[in-house]
Each structure stands twice: as structure tokens, then as C-alpha cells.
């Protein structure tokens, strides 16, 4: 590895090639529990040209590359494979252009999601995708994982805002895909191949994103329920009333308690479930939708509905929801987060099933998630050192995934397959679909050097 590190130092300089053990340890993981593996070295390029040189070098010597941003992924997608080159894009973080005439922003991959959101906001615009880790996640990582967020229900996910990409391929060639045109059907939409590809098909170096006008008004409320079913019924009723709020999040009792311990914002500690509801848009419409949703919640058994009185109060509520996953880690040494997703109509059934699994195996599962889009986050609170319990967690996980697929859902709504969900992929997508993915991978990365062993073997 010393020769590799020395060669790469020739490209990037000493400071941006790391191979001391004390560095490698700290790149051995992402945000996923229990996955750890040390790379051979870490490189921190600052330009596309440097990324190309590293890729060319890796191709010549057949060394695998694992690309990462801030390492906040939740499926092990950026966990190194032993001996690989970790290509960290955190230092490639220039904002290239904000174009208010075309409502686009062009950034390098390492730009933090929050920064894009802030720049858009300052220009009177909105970048809707808001994954839980947006304060530190990079745009490149968001595109590679096709991240979702709290506003998915109304605004969709990262894919819906990517207009163009610059990608460095396995052979070191850089290509530009897409443009600022709203309509473009010139050939296959190749950018879409790379969105959600988890670093297995190419290295995303630049991203052109679409922005939308900032909604004039926003209203946030919190509804408490004594039964999880009632919360689920409320969600169904809101959708049936043809209202699409931008956020419809729920937290169960365990999650409420953990979040409150951290954030101390006065969440109802006696509730079985709470719904965080937010609507945005034209002032009049927002008012009308908010009062209608409040009514629906009360009709379906909400014990209390609290409307945020100020922007700050609303922000506190959504921020609290954003940290739910990390806050759950207060309870136990190991926190394993999943993101089984089902069609909205099957939500109540899926939640009941998860509760049943929890009782069956005697496991603590905190559940929260994006109720509006059927994306659930059952979270196992366990201890990796307790092998007996970990075995039960494995079994419970399999059951939950299988049931989600049976209900017409998927094994992962927004975290990606990575390493964590690899064993469940075939069952979820079917053999033919998996084979098509493999063919694509072989075409773009014939030597299997880009994040090998992720998504599928």
C-alpha cells in the first residue's frame, strides 16, 4: 500500500493522501451500525481532473475505489472494502453557479445539502429534498443514494431535482449528462442511471439541481393519538380528502420519549403516536388545508392538535423529527435503522405487523417515519455484543422485509441497498431485474472496481 500511497501523493500532494492507521480507522464506517472495514488509503481530491487521475491510476492497477462524502449513509454504501482507495469528496465543495433565470444551482459533489437549501432560500427559492442528515450530508451522496426526506410526499425525492451530472467513469473519463432544459429527450436519460447507483457505476463530481419558487406560507401542526391505528387512519383520510401536505411524519411512543429527552420541546409524553403535519403553498390554500386537516385529525381520534405559532416553533418541531434516528440511540448500545416502505394504503397493516414482530421476538423496536409516503423506519434497539439477541434481530428483519414486499412495497425507500440490504434485494426486485442491473454494472465497470460488492455481488 505504501507504493500506492506514494504514487497518489504524486497526484494530490502529501496532505490529501492519508494512509496512517489513525486516519484509516476513522474512514472505516458510515452511519450504519455494526459495519466496519479499513481502506488501504484515503484520497481527498479537489477537482474533477484529480478525480480522473485517481480513477485512471486505480484502473491501471486494478484497485477498487469506494467513493464517499460525509459518510452519513445508512446502508453501508460507503463502508470501505479492505485495501480499497476511499475517494472522499468532502473537500470538493465549490458552488459553481446559482441561475435564478433558469431556477437551477450547479455545485460540486462535496457541497453540503444544507448549504444548497440556504442558498436557494436566500434567492427566494426552495430546494425541497431534506434528508434527516442534511446539515452534514453532501449533495453527491444524496444523488448517489437518491435520498428522500421529510417533504417527499408532496415534492418527491432527490432524483426529481437532478437536471444534470458530471460523472467520472471507471476508466477515468469524465462525462457531462443532462442540461438546464426542462424538456430533453435526446437519447436515453443517462443521468438517471447514475442517480441512486450508490457509487457502483461512476463517480459523481458535479450536480446541476432544479429549484422551485419558495412557498409563500407554511403551517405546521402536531397531532397526538392514543392509538397508532388512529394516526394511520388520519393519514389515509387526509389523502382521501385530496390534500397533499408537504410533510406527514409520525413518531411512536419510544421515539417520542427519546426525541423529547434530547430536544426538550414539550412533546406529549403520554401519546402512543404523534403526527407532524406541515402544509405549504399559497396563504389561503395553506389556511384552508391546515384547518381541514385539523378537523380530520380530531374526527379520527386525535386527543390534541397543536398548531405551531411561529416559524421558530415549526422549525423546532421539524428539527426534532429530523434527529429521531440518532436520538433513539440513547436507549441502547446498538441502533439498527431500517426503511421498509409500503404503498400508503397498507401503512396501518405494516405498522401492526412490525408491532407483532417486536412482541414475537421480544425485541424493542422504535418506529417512526414518513407516513405520508409509506416510508417507515422500524429501528431495533439492541446490543451488538448480545449475539443471541442479534440473531433474533436478523430474523425479525427478514420477516419485516418479506412482509413489506408482500404488501407491494420495497426493502428500502431511501437509504439504498449498500451492504445492509444486499441479501434481500433478489426477493424484492426479482431475478430478471437483478440480472439487468448486473449487465449494466458490467458494461460501465467491466473490472468491478467501483464500490464492488455493494447492492449485489
Amino acid at each position: 500500500m505504501q507504493k500506492v500511497a506514494t504514487d497518489l501523493t504524486g497526484i494530490l500532494g502529501q496532505e490529501r493522501v492519508l494512509w496512517e492507521r489513525e486516519h484509516l480507522v476513522t474512514y472505516g464506517f458510515d452511519g450504519t451500525a455494526t459495519l466496519y472495514s479499513e481502506p488501504g488509503c484515503v484520497v481527498l481530491p479537489k477537482t474533477t481532473a484529480e478525480v480522473r487521475q485517481v480513477a485512471e491510476y486505480a484502473a491501471e492497477y486494478k484497485i477498487p475505489i469506494v467513493t464517499r462524502g460525509s459518510g452519513t449513509g445508512l446502508s453501508g454504501g460507503s463502508v470501505p472494502i479492505p485495501g480499497c482507495i476511499v475517494l472522499c469528496l468532502a473537500q470538493m465543495d465549490q458552488v459553481l453557479e446559482l441561475d435564478p433565470k433558469n431556477l437551477t444551482i450547479h455545485v460540486e459533489s462535496g457541497v453540503i445539502t444544507q448549504k444548497v437549501a440556504e442558498l436557494a432560500d436566500a434567492a427566494g427559492l426552495l430546494y425541497p429534498p431534506d434528508p434527516g442528515s442534511m446539515r452534514i450530508s453532501t449533495i453527491g451522496g444524496n444523488v448517489a443514494e437518491n435520498s428522500g426526506g421529510l417533504r417527499g410526499l408532496k415534492y418527491g425525492v432527490t432524483r426529481d431535482y437532478v437536471m444534470g451530472l458530471e460523472v467520472v467513469l471507471a476508466n477515468g473519463q469524465a462525462i457531462s449528462l443532462g442540461n438546464k432544459c426542462v424538456k430533453d429527450v435526446a437519447g436515453y436519460s443517462m443521468k438517471d442511471v447514475f442517480i441512486g447507483s450508490e457509487g457502483t457505476l461512476g463517480i459523481i463530481t458535479r450536480v446541476l439541481l432544479q429549484l422551485v419558487p419558495k412557498p409563500q406560507a407554511r403551517k405546521t401542526m402536531l397531532a397526538s393519538f392514543q392509538k397508532m391505528d388512529k394516526a394511520a387512519d388520519t393519514v389515509s383520510a387526509i389523502i382521501a380528502a385530496k390534500i397533499i401536505p408537504c410533510t406527514l411524519e409520525f413518531l411512536d411512543r419510544i421515539t417520542i420519549h427519546c426525541v423529547e429527552e434530547y430536544a426538550q420541546i414539550g412533546l406529549p409524553m403520554d401519546a402512543e403516536a404523534i403526527l407532524l403535519i406541515e402544509t405549504d403553498g399559497h396563504v389561503v390554500v395553506v389556511e384552508e388545508e391546515a384547518s381541514r386537516m385539523e378537523e380530520i385529525a380530531r374526527e379520527h381520534g386525535a386527543t390534541a392538535v397543536q398548531v405551531a405559532k411561529s416559524g421558530e416553533e415549526a422549525a423546532r418541531l421539524t428539527t426534532a423529527r429530523r434527529v429521531a434516528f440518532s436520538a433513539l440511540a440513547r436507549r441502547s448500545p446498538t441502533t439498527i435503522l431500517e426503511d421498509a416502505t409500503v404503498p400508503r394504503s397498507e401503512l396501518a397493516a405494516m405498522i401492526r405487523f412490525i408491532q407483532g414482530v417486536s412482541i414475537k421476538y421480544g425485541l424493542t423496536i422504535g418506529t417512526f417515519g414518513h407516513m405520508g409516503d409509506g416510508n417507515l423506519h422500524p429501528t431495533f434497539l439492541t446490543d451488538e455484543k448480545n449475539t443471541a439477541e442479534m440473531a433474533k434481530v436478523e430474523k425479525a428483519m427478514v420477516e419485516i422485509f418479506e412482509h413489506a414486499v408482500k404488501l407491494g412495497g420495497t426493502i428500502t425507500g431511501e437509504h439504498g441497498v449498500g451492504l445492509a440490504k444486499k441479501p434481500f434485494l433478489a426477493n424484492a426486485v426479482g431475478d430478471a431485474s437483478l440480472e439487468l442491473m448486473r449487465q449494466l454494472k458490467r458494461t460501465l465497470d467491466p473490472n468491478n472496481l467501483l464500490n464492488p460488492g455493494k447492492i449485489f455481488d
Partner: protein, 456 residues
């Protein structure tokens, strides 16, 4: 050409082989309750709030990176190496990561244990470092008479204009590198120490409480007037003030610098100085000390003699702003128009989660307009003795802080920690900025004095 299999094998070898492990096993981290280390789920929420990560964008310089290293050490997978030592001394110990952490990781505790391991293993040792550490941590800061004698000498040096002469003749160049950089940081020392300004017992006419007052060590040398102001403010709010003579350093310097045993000794000596049973509270006005003082209960939890007293102490310990907010602040009557911004000391906002109370103190002062400081919770680079040990990083943080202060357009900065005050004063001096750095309590004391004198 090497195949990836070779590389794989090489990496596994690097990972497993542990030549230094036998020489430098961990004494402290391995003893730490493992669940404290496991609490970190490496979600990364701490990264954007860590000043060192923000500067370098390297995982090793982040809280979760440092915790990963500590975990490897606790697991026996990594030795206490020199690189680990350097990393943990590159950390400011500002605890911004604790505020950011939804999982409730106790970084401060791990940080102290890690530094103790580093000192135990001696991986950062050098003749000069040993000498400085013995002179300061082991002698000066355990020996208040010696510290005061030195303080008196420096004061003489400053007031006799010898300092100006030395600086004019550029004699500071004769000092060894690091010391010459440090010399301009020396704060203006006070002519009189706290004991000369505050009587052992001072009782107000309308007594409601009895509190013990901590006068500190650096605070006593450089900011004894802040201690007097604190006594005045307490008296104005109905508190009898008990101030033990010749107080020792509380031990926070020792705990933060890998001398846990000495820290315990200083804690025991501090406990001995106060008659805890007869006090409603023990009050400190120094943020850095406050975090550590509140931790005595934990520090001495297995001490056969002091454990119980230390626990009581932790329960009674209050930062001055916290105490005033608790008992209700007597508003001064006279209005003095002034615009003030507030820099939040790390060990007040992150270490003790005290953010609103100092603002309450400032807002209680009639005529005072509080202008919020951008990034007010971002470390100023003082961080105990960090400005001495890591001058480059410290300087970057200081410039960032000064730039933020400039944005407010205000020249009075309220700050409640002696370290921050020294740092900000030095920063203002070097950049020729007309800044007044004042403790919030001094502003309040001033307002009481004006009220009593009937000045409008």
C-alpha cells in the same frame, strides 16, 4: 503491479498487527464503561459543529473520528500512539459535539480519559514539555502561594513599564519560539487578589440565601475585580457571600490535560475549603471551571471519604447566571444606554447548557441593548491552554470570532470565562480593535453601582 487481493491482505495485516499495543496499552479508556463508547452511532450529526473538522474536513479531526480511535484503543486494536496523542491535543475540548449529539454521547468524559492515557503512555513526552508540565500543572497550579508570587512579579513587570521596554527592544525574541508567541497573550494582571477585595463573610441587609464563592486561579490573578463584582451582585440579590481564603485551582486544568489523579487531589482540597452543609449554593463565575466543578460527583464517585460530599457539591454548584436566574434578578433602577453583544463560552453553553440565563442577566440591565453575535457558540480558540499548544488553529478561530464581532458593530463583548476574555482581549490588542471584553456580571454590578449612586 499489485492486485487488489495483495492489497486486501496488506490491509488486514496492518489492521491486526499491533506492534505498539504491548508497549502502550490503555489504562483509562479500557477501564471506561464500554457503553459510553458504544453510545456513539457515528451518524455524523456532530461534524458540522466541530471547529477542527470544519477547518480540515478530515474525519480524524472530528468527534466521531476521535471516538472511533478511542474505541479501537479500548478494544486493544490500536495502541496509544503519538498520532493519537497529537489528535486528542488538536481537539479543543469545546464540547460543541455534546450539544449536537442526539444520542447523548458523553464526549467530555472520554476526552479526559483519552488524554490521561496519552500522558500515562508518555507518547507526547519531550524534555521541554515535561519541564513545562511539571512547572505549571504539578507545581504552580497546585500551589496558590507560588501562583500568586508569580502573578505579583508579572504585575510588577507590567506596571513598571519594563514590559513596554522589553517589547520595544524586541527582547521577547530572546525567548524560545513558543514562549515568545505566548508572551503577548499574557493578560493584564490585577494589583490586588480576590482575598484583598472580598472579606471572608459579607452579609447583605436583606439576606435570603448563603452562598460560597469560588474565586478561581486565573480569575484571581487577572480578573479579581470580576470576583468582587460577583460578590456585589450576590449581595444585591440577598445572598450572604462566604469566600474561603487562598483558594486552589479547581483541577479543571489538570483533568483536561491528562492529570486525572492530580485533578482528584485538587477537588478534595477545594471540597475541604467549603462548609457545604451551611451553604445554599456554591457559585462560580468561570465557565470552564463550572463544567468541571459540577463533575466532582462523578470524578470522586469511588473515593471512600469524599464520594458523598462530592455528590452534594455537584448538586449545589451553580454558575452565577444560573443561580441568579433561579432566585430572580433584582433589576437595577438606573438606565445606562449601551449596546452589548454576548459571546457564549463553550463550557457555559455546551458544557453546562446555560444559554438563556446570561442573556437574562444582560437584559435585566436597563438601557442595555443586546445585539446577538453570529456563531455565538463557536469556540474562540482559547480552550484552556489551546492557544499556547495549538497557536495556528487557535488563531484561525480567534479571527473568525473577531470577524463575527465586527458584524455586530458593537464594541462591548460580554463573556463569562477568563480564558475567552484573555483570548479576545489579546485579539483586540493585536488587531487594534477598540473592544471592551466584560463579564456579564461586571455589567450588572456596574448598573447596581450607578443605581446606588443615583447616576442617570
Amino acid at each position: 503491479m499489485r492486485s487488489s487481493d495483495d492489497l486486501h491482505a496488506a490491509a488486514v495485516r496492518v489492521g491486526r498487527a499491533n506492534p505498539e499495543g504491548a508497549e502502550n496499552p490503555s489504562k483509562y479508556l479500557r477501564r471506561l464503561d464500554y457503553s459510553v463508547l458504544q453510545q456513539c452511532i457515528h451518524c455524523g450529526m456532530c461534524l458540522p459543529t466541530c471547529p477542527t473538522y470544519d477547518e480540515t474536513k478530515l474525519e480524524r479531526n472530528s468527534p466521531r473520528g476521535r471516538i472511533a480511535l478511542m474505541r479501537q484503543i479500548a478494544d486493544g486494536q490500536l495502541a496509544v500512539t503519538r498520532a493519537f496523542g497529537e489528535e486528542l491535543y488538536f481537539c479543543l475540548g469545546c464540547l460543541a459535539c455534546e450539544t449536537a449529539c442526539p444520542a447523548g454521547v458523553h464526549y467530555g468524559q472520554m476526552f479526559e480519559f483519552a488524554r490521561a492515557d496519552i500522558e500515562q503512555a508518555g507518547v507526547k513526552r519531550s524534555a521541554i514539555r515535561d519541564c513545562v508540565r511539571t512547572l505549571t500543572l504539578r507545581w504552580l497550579f497546585t500551589n496558590p502561594e507560588a501562583l500568586r508570587t508569580l502573578g505579583r512579579l508579572i504585575w510588577l513587570f507590567q506596571v513598571t513599564r519594563l514590559e513596554t521596554l522589553v517589547r520595544r527592544l524586541k527582547l521577547t525574541r530572546l525567548l524560545p519560539g513558543r514562549l515568545s508567541r505566548l508572551e503577548p497573550l499574557t493578560p493584564r494582571l490585577q494589583r490586588r487578589f480576590s482575598d484583598e477585595l472580598i472579606r471572608p463573610v459579607e452579609t447583605p441587609a436583606n439576606q435570603r440565601y448563603r452562598v460560597g464563592l469560588l474565586t478561581g486561579c486565573v480569575q484571581d490573578l487577572a480578573f479579581s475585580h470580576v470576583n468582587r463584582d460577583t460578590a456585589d451582585v450576590l449581595l444585591a440579590n440577598g445572598c450572604e457571600v462566604i469566600t474561603p481564603r487562598l483558594q486552589v485551582c479547581c483541577g479543571s486544568l489538570h483533568a483536561h490535560n491528562g492529570e486525572l489523579e492530580l485533578a482528584k487531589e485538587m477537588a478534595r482540597r477545594t471540597l475541604d475549603a467549603f462548609d457545604l452543609q451551611h451553604l445554599d449554593a456554591v457559585v462560580t463565575n468561570a465557565a470552564g471551571c463550572g463544567t468541571h466543578l459540577k463533575n466532582y460527583g462523578h470524578l470522586l464517585h469511588d473515593d471512600p471519604i469524599y464520594a458523598e460530599r462530592a455528590a452534594q457539591w455537584s448538586a449545589k454548584l451553580r454558575d452565577i447566571h444560573e443561580w441568579l436566574a433561579e432566585i430572580g434578578i433584582q433589576a437595577p433602577t438606573v438606565s445606562i444606554p449601551q449596546r452589548v453583544t454576548y459571546h457564549q463560552a463553550c463550557h457555559l453553553c455546551h458544557g453546562q447548557k446555560i444559554t438563556e440565563q446570561p442573556r437574562q442577566v444582560l437584559k435585566a440591565i436597563p438601557g442595555l441593548e443586546l445585539i446577538e453575535l453570529p456563531e455565538s457558540t463557536w469556540c474562540c480558540g482559547s480552550a484552556g491552554i489551546y492557544n499556547i499548544t495549538q497557536p495556528d488553529m487557535s488563531e484561525k478561530l480567534l479571527q473568525r470570532k473577531l470577524a463575527n464581532i465586527e458584524k455586530t458593530g458593537v464594541n462591548i463583548v460580554a463573556s463569562a470565562n477568563p480564558g475567552c476574555s484573555v483570548q479576545l482581549e489579546a485579539g483586540a490588542r493585536f488587531s487594534n480593535k477598540n473592544l471592551k471584553i466584560l463579564h456579564p456580571i461586571s455589567l450588572l454590578a456596574q448598573a447596581y453601582r450607578s443605581s446606588n449612586a443615583g447616576i442617570t
